[in-house]
Symmetry: C2
Subunit: 230 residues, 2 copies
C-alpha cells in the first residue's frame, strides 16, 4: 500500500480527512513509468482514474490524418484520463510520459465506491473538469480570434501558472517543451512557432535550456498576450 | 412550486426517484423569459445553477476587443451557467435567450443541499461537463488543424445531434441560426461563413428558412467534415 502522504496535495482529494485519505490509498495502484511510455492510447477502453505523483505527461489527440493537438500537459498532483469513465468509456486522447514518472490509479469500481463513501471527491472532480472546460473555451476563443503570437504568449502564461518555478530572474515552466509541442498546443505550424520563439529569445523575453522554457520578461509576454489583433 | 413532470428528461437529474425529483422541484425557481433577454452577463458573480425548460439560449464569450466566440447553444433539458459555481464564481460567458424561453434554476446553497441528499446529481454534473470538455477539445483540434469548410460541417452535424428534428427529407436544427452565429462558432469571418453556406444551399446540401437550417444531404456534409485538409 502506497504511503498516504502522497495524496493531501491533490485537488482530487481536497478536503478529505486523514482516515478518508488512507481509504483512498488502500485501493490505489502505484506505477513507475520510464520516459516515453504510453499510459493509455487514444480510442482504448477506459477503465481507470489516473493521477500523477511525479513527472510529466503529454495528453494529445490525433485525427485520421495524423494532425495532432496537444490537449494538455499533466504535472505532479493532477488528475488525467478520468473524464472517459463518465462519458463514452474510451480515452479520447493518448497519454505519454515526457520524463520518468510515477502514476497512481484506481479502477472505475474503486472510484465509484470511494465517491459513495466520500462524496466530496465528486465535487472535486466537477471543479477540476469545470476548470479545464473553461480553459478549453478560452483556448477556442483565442484560436478563433487571435493571431498566433498572442496564442503562444497565452499558452506560456498558462503553463507558468500551472507548473512555473520562479526565482529572482524569471519563471521556468516545469514541462520539457519542444517547439513541436508549442506548435501543437497553439494550432500553429512548426515553422511559425519556431520563428516566434527564436525572435523572443533574441530579445531576451524567454530563454531555453534543455527543453525548459524560462519567461524572463513577464510584462512583455503579457503585453503580447493581451494585444490579440496587432 | 413548478410541476415535477418537467424534470425526468433532464440529464442533470437522471436516475433520480420520484420523491427525489419532487425534492428538487421544491427549491427551484421557474422564470419565463422573452426573446433577447440576458439571463446572466459575462463576468457577473455566479450564484445559481440553471437549466432550460423551453426555448434556446446562446452562450457567448467576448474578449476585450469585442471579438466573440459562440461557446454553445442550450436547448430544452440542458444545464447551463453551473460550472462557475465550482470554479471562480464568475460567469465566463453571457447567456442570452434566442427565442421566448423558460428557465429553471436553483441557488448554490440549494444545489449543494440537493447533492448531499441525492449524490447522483454530482455524477450527472461530472458527465455533462465531461461531455462538453470533450466537445471543446474536438473543436480545438478542428480549429487548429482543419479548413473552415470541415469545421462548419462538423458544427452542423454536432448541432443536428444535439437538437435535430428529422423528417423524410432532412434534419432541421432546432436553434435559430444566423450566419454570424455560424461564423462565431467556427472561428470564421462572416464573409467566409456566408460564402460557404450559400454554396451549400445552391447545391441543395442544406436549406435555410426563417433562420432554421435543414441538412438535406447528410452524406455530403459528412464527407466534407471528414476531409479536413482538402
Amino acid at each position: 500500500m502506497p504511503a498516504p502522504g502522497l495524496l493531501p496535495g491533490m485537488e482530487l482529494f481536497l478536503g478529505l480527512s486523514e482516515p478518508a485519505l488512507a481509504d483512498v490509498m488502500n485501493c490505489a495502484r502505484l506505477r513507475h513509468l520510464p520516459k516515453n511510455v504510453t499510459v493509455f492510447a487514444q480510442g482504448q477502453a477506459a477503465d481507470r482514474c489516473h493521477a500523477l505523483i511525479e513527472g510529466s505527461i503529454r495528453i494529445a489527440q490525433s485525427d485520421e490524418d495524423g494532425a495532432q493537438l496537444v490537449v494538455r500537459f499533466i504535472g505532479p498532483g493532477e488528475m488525467f484520463g478520468t473524464v472517459a469513465l463518465f462519458t463514452d468509456r474510451q480515452y479520447p486522447a493518448e497519454a505519454v510520459t515526457m520524463v520518468d514518472s510515477t502514476e497512481i490509479s484506481w479502477t472505475e469500481a474503486a472510484l465509484l465506491d470511494l465517491i459513495e463513501r466520500h462524496p466530496r471527491i465528486a465535487l472535486n472532480i466537477v471543479r477540476i473538469i469545470g476548470t479545464r472546460l473553461r480553459e478549453a473555451q478560452e483556448r477556442l476563443r483565442e484560436l478563433a480570434t487571435q493571431r498566433v503570437e498572442s496564442r503562444i504568449a497565452h499558452m506560456l502564461l498558462r503553463l507558468a501558472a500551472q507548473a512555473g518555478q520562479a526565482d529572482g530572474t524569471g519563471t521556468t515552466i516545469g514541462f520539457p517543451l519542444t517547439r513541436k509541442d508549442v506548435a501543437a498546443m497553439c494550432g500553429a505550424t512548426l515553422h511559425t512557432a519556431s520563428r516566434i520563439l527564436t525572435a523572443w529569445e533574441k530579445t531576451g523575453m524567454i530563454t531555453t535550456s534543455r527543453q525548459r522554457v524560462t519567461i524572463r520578461k513577464l510584462a512583455a509576454i503579457k503585453r503580447i498576450a493581451e494585444d490579440p489583433g496587432a
